[in-house]
Amino acid sequence: MTVLSLFSLPFVALILSLWSSSAFASSDYHEHLLLHPLPQSSLLASFNFRSNTSQQSFDQQHFRYLPRALGQILQHAHTKELHLRFTTGIWDAESWGSRPWNGSKEGGTGVELWAWIDAPDDEAAFAKWVTLTQSLSGLFCASLNFVDSTRTTRPVVSFEPAGDHSAADQLHLLHGTLPGEVVCTENLTPFLKLLPCKGKAGISSLFDGHKLFDAAWQSMSVDIQPVCSANGECVVQIEQTVDMVLDIDRSKRSRYLANPIPRPVPNEQLVCDTSKPYNSDDTCYPLEKTNDKAWSLTEIFGRSLNGVCPLTELDGSSDQSVCLRVPHERGVFISEEAEEIKKDDGFTRCFKLAPSVPFDLSIPQQPVNTEVPLDEPVLHAERTIVGHGQERGGMRIIFGNPSNTSAVDFIYFESLPWFLRPYIHTLHATITGHDGVPREVPASEIVKETYYRPAIDRERGTQLELALFVPAASTVTLTYDFEKAILRYTEYPPDANRGFNVAPAVIRILDTAHDAPIYIRSTSLLLQLPTPDFSMPYNVIILTSTVIALAFGTIFNILVRRIVTLDEAAALGAQTLKGRLLGKFVAIRDRLRGKDTKVE
């Protein structure tokens, strides 16, 4: 992949053009939706919402588009720049090409959070970080409060601040992930509430939790950063995106609530290959439908688009809030009030929506010769756990460089839980070149720099950052061995036999010719740890405890308790050793206080 084709990435280009036009207005709001049908009957819907608040009004807590709830958390936690990601599923790079936003708006599976915090030293920064995670946890209904010291890392080279920060700030980058967090509708609702139109109008009215979380891949992001123009005028910018890949068939099907189950179709609806000699009423070699499936917004999202958000700045290009990437030859039906604008690249068309009129868009089935070109990803990465047994294992990471001409430089960042203990000395590299013959090379030949921070049991995880490169048209395989720690009895979660999630690795591709770095994340992994058989101890402990508590409690009660009248009790109390000691104590206390001793 060349630098030129990178520039031609549609998403980036579109967003850059939008951004340059109006990024520096003191307070504004933009929203944008890009629909892009992908191979294998998928549809990428990429939503983007962006608003600004001037630094001055932000400092004075004068919020307009920037949500107050979030703004106050940032101020309280001295957070200058914040990135929050909720992601589920995997992006199928083989079929769908390179990632939307070059991967910069997505996180690893689960929840990922990183922030630059202004603090005098590391401890203070961590204290602020804890404040931040606790507050965000409440705001987004996510288990972010579980991002403790074992899940927090301080990456050195993997992330760089995207905003313009003043030199006076002492910024600390903290990064935390929750790979096991299940992202669902309870995270979407607070996300929508941050938007000025709150899902009632504009493109955000398309959001339906059922559809969003039925997607093959979806990623929600919140980015807040200060942006300064050349003349020193600064704004605080919040950008929220939702990217999802919907399966067209599946989304269309569940619209008919009576029949959301993919039952076998009736015989007469089967699409068969009639050229086969055996084709008959009861024998059918199926013909799979091609990419150009018919769909419409209402079918896919289950609701229509409710006009435009009235808060949107209506100037120039930004009023074309919905864009679609299909070849121009393909027919598209839109609602009457809307206006279609075809772009010069031959594949993009945008729609100017009428305010407060529902908008729908539908594409009929149509044989098409041209296809929208997909960008090939710059790098393929795959990370798996190998080996078996409960004591040791191995990690294997495969990087493939599809380019025939240029090598790829990148940073590989991995944060491992403390109970996975890597042996860095076993780090080996294998290169498979054009000939397909694997060659073992010393890891130092591939890895240019290593940032390694070893784990401390129960305090922090391992942090490993490697700067490495993959030569052109080659595949590099990195392997290392690790040992699995045995946890304490109480440290196992209730579903201990499921395994433990290992956070995805983050790959940042360095491209000097290009401003925005490209990010790739591997899938998260499931690590099986040696797990005791909980059922037996649990049963024994619970049963015996109950029996003993019942039996002992009752018997002890009967043995020890004596039922006496109140008068007798006082008399008895005076006679016992305890009673007499208490009496003495009271007497001494009263004497000290200067009272007369009460003599009976």
Binding site: D214, P262, T283, E288, D495, T523
Partner: protein, 617 residues
């Protein structure tokens, strides 16, 4: 009671020589009786689903209707390709047909929207090369992130060497059908292997990156495997019942929950009967339960792979094979629905299967005994050797040997008299120890030979070993008795020590083995049981000669090679087949049965023979 103990102390011959024999014998008898009691209702239990998440048969299976048309279409397509090859005939075309079929499989799976990859492998064992190409495809869980997966395997050739055309076609149809569902929480991998023996092994090894160089790595992977199902439908007609095969390599078993789920779904939801261990007319009687259990124990004890599912077990992946049997009115769609329902159950799993038993003996599809109940049986048999070994050790230390024979030798007589008075005798350990250790190391020779020579020599080698088993103990006994002028002749105490050490090792190995592979430990224990009771005989020469010859004949009947020949003759299988399979198991499946035979059983047996031979000198 104290009187009885005092009596015992006053009668050292009973205490050291008689009592251990009695105890050992009782242990063996109780061990065998224990096993025979297991099928009774009082000792076995009704199976139950332990993992609540499985919810077997709680979902409706929709795999019907027009899916059958597609099944027929796929089947005709594959049939056409296979017949094409047959029509042209000849060995040369076989590779071509395989390639064409593989391409067709890939194109069908790709068209259904799955990610497809292939893997070539090649194994060599006993001079035979096994090679092939696995084709597999992955349905990514619609919302998942590839952390967990289920495997559906359809081998082209079933475990019974039949063409599994319906099974492969069913896998393809199910792949297309499953792709439409959005409820999968785990990836589903469809694996089509050329055979049931080596294909899955190559694939699963490569999946965990534990493969040898002759096996290609996998280009496409998913997450941790949670379970595997093998589909075998080699029949041309409708079937009657499902046969569930569950034995793994080295006697490892899948979690009982998986088996129970399959039985519950097949029997409860689909109304298809479920059989196990080839017991077709199981009437739930004691005899049938016992027979089922014995069949299971034989498979477990021999430790070979009983189907494509067996290779999964060493990686702690629970797997079973579903085979269709008999002529009835269940069609491929019923099998498909069973598999659909099973997949739905596995899909429900939140954790790896761990709730239920991993160690059990099944005696009916709904009756089992768990390890706590059956283990004492093998432990008692292993314990008999340990009891004998300890008794012999004590006897050599405290109880002077052979009072009558000591009399004539006057110079030794005084020493023995002395030993008798203080009750302590010195033990001569060097010779017994080195002999026992040496013979156990010698076991590596047959182990190496039987796993490395070419398959055509297996029969000859077995007969050679029968002869070696007669000559070697005779030779050793002669050396020991006469010393060949190199060392002093052996004294009776050392014979006891040799036996003691040998039995100690045997008891130790078998009791450890009982926790890993109960059946193997039990079988070897029974075959070795006579060794507890053979010893160097004393008495008049004709008596010794007669008894020891008879003993030797009997003992040679239970030697490892003779047992092998006998079993092969009884079952009507050739020795070569069995040994080729064993070598294959050692090379590819990682089977350990041979190690137990040649390094545990054989040395102990040799020592028993040496002791008997030595009676003749």
């Amino acid at each position: 009671m104290p009187a009885a103990i005092r009596n015992l102390r006053n009668n050292p011959h009973f205490l050291f020589a008689r009592l251990p024999n009695l105890l050992s014998f009782i242990c063996v008898v109780v061990g065998v009786v224990w096993l025979l009691l297991l099928p009774l209702n009082e000792y076995s239990r009704q199976t139950y689903i332990s993992e609540n998440a499985l919810l077997p048969g709680q979902v409706h299976a929709y795999f019907t209707g027009s899916e059958q048309n597609i099944f027929r279409g796929y089947k005709r397509e594959l049939e056409g390709l296979l017949n094409d090859g047959q029509a042209r005939g000849g060995q040369k075309d076989e590779a071509e047909v395989t390639a064409a079929v593989s391409d067709k499989l890939q194109s069908i799976l790709q068209a259904a929207g799955l990610k497809v990859a292939t893997q070539k492998y090649e194994y060599t064992s006993a001079g035979i090369t096994h090679q092939g190409e696995n084709t597999y495809a992955i349905i990514h869980a619609p919302r998942g992130d590839a952390t967990e997966a289920i495997v559906l395997v359809a081998p082209w050739i079933t475990a019974d060497d039949k063409l599994n055309l319906n099974g492969v076609t069913l896998a393809l149809t199910l792949a297309r059908y499953f792709k439409r569902w959005s409820l999968w929480s785990k990836d589903i991998i469809f694996l089509i292997t050329p055979d049931s023996k080596s294909g899955t092994q190559a694939w699963i090894d490569a999946y965990h990156d534990m493969h040898p160089a002759s096996v290609q790595p996998l280009p496409l992977k998913s997450g941790a495997l949670q379970g595997a199902l093998v589909i075998e439908y080699p029949l041309d007609h409708r079937f009657q019942s499902l046969h569930i095969v569950y034995d793994g390599v080295n006697g490892q078993l899948p979690n009982l929950d998986l088996f129970n789920t399959a039985v519950a779904i097949a029997g409860g939801q689909m109304g298809i009967g479920a059989n196990l261990q080839e017991m077709w007319g199981h009437d739930d009687s004691y005899e049938h339960r016992l027979q089922t259990m014995f069949r299971g124990m034989t498979k477990q004890g021999l430790g070979y792979a009983t189907g494509a599912h067996s290779s999964f077990m060493p990686y702690h992946i629970d797997a079973i094979t579903l085979q269709t049997k008999g002529e009835g009115w269940e069609d491929e769609m019923a099998l498909g629905r069973t598999i659909e329902s099973l997949c739905r159950s596995l899909n429900n799993l939140l954790e790896h299967l761990h709730q239920s038993f991993f160690f059990y003996l099944l005696m009916q599809s709904n009756r089992f005994v768990s390890i706590g109940t059956y283990l004492p049986s093998a432990m008692l048999i292993a314990g008999n050797f340990t009891i004998m070994a300890i008794a012999l050790w004590m006897r050599t230390g405290y109880y002077p040997e052979s009072k009558p024979s000591a009399k004539p030798m006057n110079e030794k007589g005084s020493a023995e008299e002395k030993a008798k008075t203080d009750g302590i005798a010195e033990r001569h350990l060097a010779l017994p120890l080195s002999l026992v250790v040496g013979l156990h190391l010698l076991g590596l020779v047959p182990l190496w030979v039987f796993n490395n020579i070419f398959h055509q020599y297996f029969t000859t080698t077995t007969y050679i070993f029968v002869v070696v088993d007669i000559i070697l103990p005779l030779f050793l006994a002669a050396i020991l008795s006469n010393g060949l002028g190199l060392s002093n002749p052996i004294i009776p105490q050392q014979y006891h020590l040799i036996k003691s050490f040998s039995l100690l090792l045997l008891g130790l190995s078998l009791s450890t083995l009982a926790t890993l592979n109960f059946s193997l430990s039990f079988m070897i224990g029974l075959l070795c049981a006579p060794l507890s009771f053979v010893a160097r005989l004393q008495g008049s020469a004709p008596f010794r000669l007669a008894t020891s010859s008879l003993g030797l004949v009997l003992l040679n009947l239970v030697s490892p090679p003779t047992v092998l020949l006998g079993v092969c003759w009884y079952m009507g299988i050739s020795v070569e087949t069995v040994l080729t399979q064993a070598a294959f198991g050692w090379d590819i499946w990682g089977m350990w049965t041979q190690v137990v035979v040649w390094c545990v059983w054989w040395p102990a047996w040799l020592i028993g023979c040496v002791l008997l031979w030595s009676s003749m000198f």
